[in-house]
Symmetry: C2
Subunit: 399 residues, 2 copies
């Protein structure tokens, strides 16, 4: 497997486009279209927020069918908390896309991201959909990646190609970042394409596993936005024998690579973030405990401001570990920054060590390993620092 260019349009038979439809005030691309030349099997994962945007409800319903040909996505407006009109608008986006593509509307998925609570500017979206469809091309992946951005500072795309059962199989994807990991409710969208031939149950299973190991490690389970959605379409145009057993495992690795790379880009592009820090928990009694500790640390505003300040304030880490609700014994905890051990048996190892840790913390990316010495379970989550710019971006977002 190797990384290649092309993002979501890298796999055979996938076309995409990104245009300006007039939704965003800043005149940036805001309407993305993704289409497969052939009908594809499809799998989706959706927000568990009780307040769901209309496009989420609609696409979730469509996904029960398990097939799709196209995805239409707008940014700049989430079409969430928009009541009955929101559902009418989401349906119209689907119908217009289906009509422009001359396909059945059951094959079209819709997604939205942006401000909550404002009606979609349908007068501007209607004519744009046809333009988006006309613009579809095998080189359109990048524009599509740009057109789904909100506060993201760079488009997120990746593709990998590898030989499976004698055929070249490609997996590509685009994503948009959340506001950040821990504001908990900025939208995360990811769309993944593949030319693999795979049956729908396997695709659903593989996608769930890959998302659990990637996107779910940058967003707390259950604390998702009104609009979060991950869709994966596989159109079979690689003409491989339908994946099973060993070949399914090969595909799984590719899918995981794509999801992990996109998740990492999302974390790295966290609002105002200047650091990307992996929190590795080891020695937990069980995985649930490991996750509690990892998310408590990753989630703490006090820890995150210390990361921003390059301050080896391990007391804040200890306090977060302590309130995580996991089984921990203070005197067993060790904390290591990259390879520098800062806390052993629950106690700091002194000012000289702290100085060396500051050097690690000056890096753009590093890892903090927390060993609870209470068992053998572990997990990794990605977090970022909390900077002045985080506040600035979120103060300015709507006004």
């Amino acid at each position: 497997m190797k990384e290649i260019q092309g993002g979501i349009t890298a796999p055979k038979g996938f076309l995409a486009s990104g245009i300006y439809a007039g939704i965003k005030r800043n005149k940036k691309l805001d309407l993305a279209m993704i289409a497969s030349e052939r009908d594809a099997v499809a799998a989706g994962l959706f927000t568990v927020n009780r307040v769901k945007a209309a496009p989420v409800i609609l696409t979730q319903r469509q996904m029960k069918r398990g097939n799709a040909r196209a995805i239409v996505v707008n940014s700049g407006n989430a079409n969430a908390c928009t009541g009955r009109q929101g559902m009418i608008d989401a349906k119209e986006m689907v119908e217009l896309t289906a009509s422009a593509l001359s396909i059945d509307k059951k094959g079209v998925c819709v997604a939205s991201t942006g401000v909550i609570g404002e009606p979609l500017p349908m007068a501007r979206i209607r004519p744009s959909i046809e333009i988006g469809v006309k613009g579809l091309s095998a080189e359109g992946g990048r524009d599509a990646a740009a057109a789904i951005m909100t506060t993201d500072t760079f488009p997120k795309e990746i593709a990998v190609r590898g030989r499976i059962g004698g055929r070249m199989v490609t997996v590509g994807g685009i994503a948009k970042g959340s506001g950040m990991i821990y504001p908990k409710m900025a939208t995360m969208l990811a769309f993944i394409s593949s030319d693999a031939a795979i049956d729908r149950d396997n695709l659903t299973r593989m996608l769930k596993k890959a998302v659990d190991r990637s996107f779910n490690k940058i967003t707390v389970d259950g604390d998702t936005s009104t609009n979060d959605m991950v869709l994966c379409l596989a159109n079979g145009m690689a003409e491989n024998k339908s994946l099973t057993g060993k070949t399914l495992g090969q595909f799984e690795k590719m899918l995981e690579h794509v999801c992990a790379a996109l998740a990492r880009m999302i974390a790295k592009d966290g609002e105002g973030a200047t650091k990307l820090v992996e929190i590795r928990v080891r020695g937990a009694k069980n995985v649930r405990d490991a996750e509690k500790v990892a998310f408590a640390v990753a989630n703490s505003n006090l820890v995150k401001t210390a990361l921003f300040a390059c301050d080896p304030n391990w007391g804040r880490l200890m306090a977060a570990i302590g309130y995580a609700g996991a089984y921990v014994r203070e005197e067993d905890i060790s904390i290591t920054f990259d390879h520098i051990n800062l806390v052993k048996n629950g106690i700091g190892l002194g000012k000289d060590v702290e100085k060396r840790v500051v050097e690690v913390m000056r890096n753009r990316e590093y890892a903090i390993t927390i060993d609870l010495n209470a068992g053998s379970a572990g997990t990794n989550v990605l977090t970022t620092d909390l900077s002045y710019d985080y506040v600035k971006i979120n103060v300015a977002y709507r006004s």
Copy 2:
């Protein structure tokens, strides 16, 4: 019942002092002493963090006895994550205080707040304890309130006096703020004194109720710092008949008033906070659901930055309500700012209403009422906005 001056030294027989012992680098008061002329019944509530500071462990142990004469508190250093030496130091603080007061060490409680993970500067604390004891006076409440501050910007004290069963009974208290409600781990300390005659079981029960309705509504249950502590001493010098039935109810109101006032001051003094906002949840299926929603909203960085910006971004409120994990139906939710209804049946009521809400949001204090229309349970919690200064304060705290 009326509010009076004097704080923790307002009740009969209570003395206090606050001095500079050399713990804080900024030369502000950092050692507080509180003493009762007579032995007092005592009740305490402590952090549920798994990582507990040495003074918390020690005082929790002493509280099993149910009596106390004095409290010694230092700020500037939390004596947390300090291993065996931390416990030795906490015990020495108790012993030196007992010796200077010529009382049994079993009657002395100890508390600390400040930076975690650094050993107490005992060389400076040792001689200071005697100075603190010598400085004890019935006018020392204010100095004691100042000496327990860390990032607090003003000392927090209150006292109330009322007639119970023919005797004048007084309840006083001091507190120090946490970093804020939601960094989840800055220390909250509160010390309450009374001259009421009350038995220990009743005092414990009343204190627990009062704390649940006040301090626990500004800190998420279970997510407390390594050092949180609320102590209440009642020395009986009002010479009332031991409280029971109706008179106990009168005392309960006084205690609740003191706790609520201190909790409000703590919230108001949240790090960098410019707003104090009460989140009122109504119409929940049950109290647990009401609390989930209230804390999800109060806890959301995106909501908090919108409060700072005076941005009536109700979509962020809706999203937080949705991910709280409570039973909610989007189309039943209404949201009101003071008396202005902004969201009805899950939908925003338009730009004109938003303009009026902006007027409310310009106030220093207001309430947001969220009606879930799903039942009859409710709760109130206090929160603040997230400002640039929050980041600034927490970046600078240790360096």
